[in-house]
Amino acid sequence: MNRRYWLLPLTAILALVLPLAAQQFQFHLEHLAAKASDTVDLSLNGPTLQFAAKFLDSDDPEEAQVKKLLASIEGIYIRSFEFKREGAYSPADLDGIRNQLKSPDWSRIVEVTSAEEGETSEVYVRTENKKVTGVALICAAPKELTVVNIAGPVDLDSLAELSGHFGLPKLKEAKPGKRM
């Protein structure tokens, strides 16, 4: 086969695969979008983050903080759904994600569950050579589901320090479901 005929499908495949390469696990939650009353779907790869960082003002203390944070992050991937009714997603949806967040690559560092409120929040970190190379969050409430993957050596404390900036509520008042 002529070399040219290989190049086109190869380029197409690479174009599809490369943006996913930075995402460290698959969400498989696309089917929930139809049931959700509010959906946030953000896939920001490294080049997009670096491009956005150029438009952050270094003289502004808040934006400078974000710029510093972005310098090491390789991607941010978020799916967040709000539902009008409970039971829109199944435990299997969460298990599909949890099954990918297994050791040795991933370890769960925090799990907060409330049987009464039906809420589960989990924080996972991905480590390589004792260094954090990724973070995953799963926040599941009866009418809400948020899954986050931050790829790259992210500092969780720096991320949490953004509290109080950009309209974020301070730690004391933090409550899910009150997104900006």
Partner: protein
């Protein structure tokens, strides 16, 4: 010296231009003018295109920045919520369980 005078007279004498001289000069001048107009149009188009490209880049940058800030907002909000629930047992609902591995 008659032959020399004769040659000089001929060389320096008034000559009528060829019949198409005027039309050739006019055509050349018109050509230069239209060429200049083409270059001006090209320069203007380039200027507009580069201005548009810059504006579009600015727009894409602003959109990317807003998306990044939204992503960080959502992430920080969730992290803070989890931290608050994990660190403050008094704020925990009665049936809550917390597991923290460091």
């Amino acid at each position: 010296m008659d032959w020399l005078e004769e040659e000089l007279k001929q060389a320096l004498g008034r000559k009528m231009p060829p019949s198409d001289f005027a039309s050739r000069v006019t055509a050349a001048a018109r050509g230069r003018g239209s060429c200049m107009r083409v270059w001006l149009a090209v320069a203007a188009a380039l200027l507009l295109a580069s201005g548009g490209a810059l504006e579009y880049r600015e727009y894409r940058g602003r959109v990317a920045k807003e998306r990044v800030l939204l992503a960080l907002r959502i992430t920080a909000e969730r992290l803070n919520y989890i931290q608050a629930r994990a660190q403050r047992p008094s704020h925990r609902p009665p049936n809550a369980s917390v597991e923290v591995r460091q």
